[in-house]
Amino acid sequence: MSIQVKFFASLREKIGISDAEINNVPTAGDAWDIATNNAERPVNVLVAINLEYAQFDSPINEGDEVAFFPPVTGG
């Protein structure tokens, strides 16, 4: 089992990857560090764990999907 990491919109273009598979780590912030190779984190990045909004210090578990994206602009 592992962690699926996804990036969307401008953040995907900035980081240069749309998704990654990483080994389990304790928090969403750790997943960012591993998946982006410690890229600087823009202040307005949002995070979701298993399709629900979460925080960077939220714990993650094997099999989770962690997504990072910029402020939303729908509607």
Binding site: F8, S10, A48, L51, A67, P70, T73, G74, G75
Partner: protein
Amino acid sequence: MTTHIAEVAFNPWQEIIGHQQQSGLDKQFGATATFIGSMRDFNDNTDVSHMVLEHYPEMTQRYLDKLEAEANQRWDLLDTLIIHRVGAINPADPIVLIACWSAHRRAALDACSWLIEELKHHAPFWKKETRQDGDRWVEQNTDGF
């Protein structure tokens, strides 16, 4: 109660009529409140020729369903319909439709207003505009006032 992510252009007026006819609302409703958001051909005083709406498909559908369920808990609604476009969009194309049916006007009006604000602030959609000087991600929604 229906939510739908539309990958092709839709006619919101036909959607409202079609939903109303199929919903079994019969003659119970006394109020229908609707919000239709369409693409402008300008933003920040600059012409915009078209845009692409990206989303996080699984989370978007889940979030719209969650919003709809919460609206139906908070207000005494008879039915709701939410449709949101993704993909390539041209000026004047509808982007979002929210329709709320209730027995009396206040519930439909308040729920419709709440739904569009919640959707705009939290549903994971992102707009990328094409302008004369190139493509640009919209960084934040206007305050709408």
